[in-house]
Structure formats: structure tokens, C-alpha cells
Amino acid sequence: MENKVEKLEEDGRRKFLRLFGAAIGGGGMAIAANSLLPEAAATETPAKAAIPAIPGYDWSQHHWAFGVDATKCIGCLRCVEACKVENNVAKDPNHFRTWVERYVTLEGEEKARIDSQQDPVNIAAAGAEGKYRFANRYKDAKVEKAFFVPKLCNHCTHPACVQVCPTGATYKTDDGVVVIDHTYCIGCQYCVQACPYGARFFNEEKRVTDKCTWCYHRITKGLNPACVEVCPVSARVFGDRNDKQSPISIFLRNNRVTVLKPESGNAPNVFYVGIDKEVG
């Protein structure tokens, strides 16, 4: 009798082991197989199940996009400052949701000299880390060509950052914005690595990753992103591509535009006019 019970227990254990092994192996294989799917799947947003309840806003009715006319930018950096204030970004020179790059080609040189507001020379010129300006460092040089390039998250159609996020904390909304759920992000920074544009950073205070959201809290209320709002020369253009008369639709209709690093396959949604070949 005792032997029988023992035998039954033993059989049960064996069955359990078999089932357990099969379940774990099968589950692992399924996920592994899925993770090999092309990046198009990255846009399959886990947020679909939970559409944000923003009063008077239906994200299926909008298709946001951003334009940058580099020929207009004067490098005043008001956009950077406004972004830092609006989005409570750390006021140091190492964390930016948006920044501006300066490309200067001197006479006799083939390659452009590049700097941003982060450069120590520019920080010194600004007088403090929380202030932003470009130093007049080329005043004694013979400048052949110079221009500024505002940069920000490209809110790509195939965002590599969303593809690699292990939890789905970062996702692409139906209206085309890539956002991060700061309450769900584990802070692994895989997305920081995956972004080819350096648009993501680690929010040291919240211990999660952070980046530009095109001021989602503003655009869903019919306002412009802060950087667009403060730009004194309209170098930054924002709008709804579903609205044919929106600034971005007009911008895209009237200009031949390019995107940054198109070879990455990320298909950015920030469109540029007037940038040179070395801008990436």
C-alpha cells in the first residue's frame, strides 16, 4: 500500500516535471520567436488597450509631425531653455529633450566644426550650466559656411527605442508620438542605446528614461510644443498632417525635406530643410 502511494507520488512528480519543462520551454520559444519579428511590430502598441482619457481629445483623429527649417535658426537657444522649464528637465549640460547644433566650416577646411550648447566653451560663455548660449568662438576666423540645426526626438514611424523596450513602457501613440510611461519603465536604458539620434537620456531624479514628447500635455490641448511656441524665427514647425492647412502640412508641401539617418530604417517624423551632408 505504502509502495503504491509512493509510486503514485513519484508518477505525479514525473508528470509535473514533464509538464513544467514543456511549459517553460514552450513559453520561452514563443517569446523568442516573436522578438525576431521585424520592427514593424514595434508599433503594435501595448497602449492600445488603454487610450488616455484626455477630455475633448481623440488620438485617432490626429497625425502629428514636426518640421525644422535650419535656414531660419539663429541659435538663440530659447527653445532649449523653454523645453527645460516646460518639461522640468534637469538644468545641467548633460540632459536635454531638445538641443541645437552649430556647424561651422572655416575657409580652407573640408569638414565642419560642430558644437552644441553643451560644449564647455559655450557653457563658459553662458556663465552658468543652467543657461544656454553659443560663444562667439569663430569671430576671428574666416567662416565659409555656418548654420544651426535644432535636434529633438524624431518620433519615428519604426522607433528602435520602442522595439527594444522589454516592458512596453515606451510606446507609439495612435497620433504618432513616442511616449514613455514613467510609472512602468524599469530604467534599463536599452532604449537609450537603441536610439541612433541620442534623443533619450536617463532621468536621474525619477530613475527612468526620458525624452521629448512634443509636449504631449500641450498638443493634446490644442497648443504648440514649448520649443515651437518660443522660437522667434519660426524655425520649428509643428502640426497635424491630417489637417491640410496646418503649418506642418504646408511646410511639407512647400519644401523638399530630408530626415536624419534615413539608413537606420527608423523613418523619422521630424523633417528638415536646409541641412548639410554631415548632419546626422
Binding site: 512528480r13 522578438s35 522589454p166 534599463c188 536617463f202 528614461t209 554631415e278
Partner: protein, 392 residues
Amino acid sequence: MEALYHVAPFTGYIYPNESVVPWTVLIVIYPYLTGLVAGAFTMSSLYQVFGMQRFKPVAHFAMLTSLCCMLIVPLPLLLHLGHAERALNPMITPHTTSAFAVFGYAAGFYVVLLLLENWFVFRPHIVQQAQQRKGLLGLFYRVLTLGSYDLSEKAMSYDRKWIFALAVVGIPGAHGLHGYVGFVFGSLKSREWWSSDLMPPIFLFSAIISGVSLLIVLYALSCKLRKVPIDLDCVKGMAYTLWGFMMFALMLEAVEFASLMYRGREGIEMILEYVKGPLVIPFWTVQLGICSLLPVLLLSFMIWQGTKGKTLIVGVVTCAMLVLVGVLMMRWNVVIGGQEISKTGKGLLTYHMPWVEQESGLTAAILLMAPFVLLAVAVRLFPPWEDGKAAH
């Protein structure tokens, strides 16, 4: 007070957000430990699956080593996370397009596999101890029997079938786990230094050589501590295994490096500057020269000369120790190296490792030591020695 973040000095032009290096020394330790797991398991499989009798002295020890390393593998990741308390989120809601989402499942599966295989291997010892010992230790072994005291020939043959099956599943499991770690890096198109189809096999073969080397060192050390003679045939077999897998590892790395240079895509000037400058010591001198070519030459010489006895042991152990350092340097040069080359392709950064804080040299050192502390306890609880002499 611990600094919130460290700014990496840079030259040329980098994106402003790049000035804080995202993945630190802990992410160097993570693939290193995973590699030791895969390598040690390979050694054990050579006996368990392929029946190579000369590896019998280290087969069970290899399994315990693999388990002890695997138990520590999640720690560097946990210590790196901004929110460690959310560590299970990828398992609760795995984002299936992420190469990293599967880690929890893959690692979990592998831990279970290792636990099961170790349990079957050490079951006779567990049962014996459960019947003999009293007190807390007795209770510990009695719990571990899981109620099964049957050591009959029928039960043992059943156990052997399981050990074989688990070892067979474990080969793709261990190698898949580590190849997948390589994929985590190789699949990122944002960094030219990482983006390579060869990254998974490179990680895999370097993992195997690190695991074999670890066993050579630990086996020699354990024999010395237990005052038993070292099985020369076993050491020689491990030396051959190390030599063989090193050929693959070195070739793959050479091919990958050659392809990177030959393709010469955008940003290659900066990579060349990096290779010729900051990599002279960590890569060319330490990883390649002292810790790869030197051990290969030394091993080749010993095999050619038919070196025997103590000279063979000293030589092979020296080579193994060099390879262990070399693979650690390889992980460093991949993980840190990739981040020291700016995504702009126009600048270089320098990562400075802090010594005492959460993600620092001290933490890395503790994590590297931890598996061996576990192992020192494990070999006392579950003696893996074929000669029957327990550790002192």
C-alpha cells in the same frame, strides 16, 4: 554622498545626452558571468552527453559551478536598473519585439534546468545525508529529497535518463542564452561597434573558453586544497578543449574586426582613431596580446612538446587564468568600447569607472567573487568529486 551621475570626458562632437554613459561596468559583468555559465555547462555536457570519460573528474563540479554563476547573473542587471522593484515587469508584460524581454524567461528556464539537473546528479548524496544527518542540516537534506528516497537501480536509471535529457536540452539552452546576450548587442543598429551578425557566435565562443578556463583553474585549486593529485588526463583534455575553442573565438573576432574595417561605413574614421588610440592597452595589448595570443602559443607549444606533469599543470593553469582576464577584457571592450564611440561618428568619450558606489568597481568585484563564495559552500553540501575526498 554618491554622485547622481558621472560625466564622461569627450573629444570631437558627441550628442549632448551621450555624455553620461548608460551601461556601466555592471553590464560588463553580466555577459561575463553568463558566459561562465555557458562555458562550465559545455564542460559538463562533454561528459554527460558526449560521454568523454576524461572529463568525469570535473563533470559534476562543472554543473555546480554553472549553477552558482547563474544564480548571480541577474544581480548586475538588478543593481543597474533604475527601478529594481519593477524588475518583473518584462516578465509580467513582455514586450515581445524586445530582444531583452525574453531574458527573464530564458534565465528562469535555465535556472530551473540547472537546479533540476543538479538535483538529479546529487540525489544519491542528498538521500544518504537525509537519512544520516540530524538537526538543521538533516532537515535541509530531507527537504531537498522532495520526498523521494528511492535509490533502487530502477530509480537511478530513471535519474540517468533525466540527467541525459536535461544535459541535451541544456546545450542549446546554455548556448542559446549566451548567443542571445550577443544578440542584445549585435542587433542594435545605432552603434557600429556592436552592430554585427557575428556578435552572438563571438559571445558564445568566448563564453565557452572562459568557462573551460574557469574549470581548469578551479579544478587545479580544489585539488590543491583537498590535497589530492590532479588528474593529468583531464587537465590535458581541458587544455585541448580550450585550444580548440580559442581557435574559433579568435577567428570569429578577427573576421568581425576585419569586416568592420573593410566595410568602412560612415564613422569609420572615428572607429580607427579609437582602435589606434584608447584601445592600444585594453584591446591590442591585454585582450589580444597577453590574454589571447600568448596562451594560444603557450598551449600550442605544450601540446607540440607533449609537456607532462607539473609543468603541464602550471602551464595550462597560467593560460586559463590569462584567458579568464582576456574574456573579461573582451566584454569590457565590447560593452564600454561601444559606448565610448559616439553615435555621431564624430567624437570619442572616456568612461571612468567609479570605485565605490552602486555601479562601481567594488560592486563589480563583489559580484565576480560571489559565485565562488556560493560554490565554496555548495561543494561542501554537495561534494562533486569523483575521488570521494571532500573539501576541507
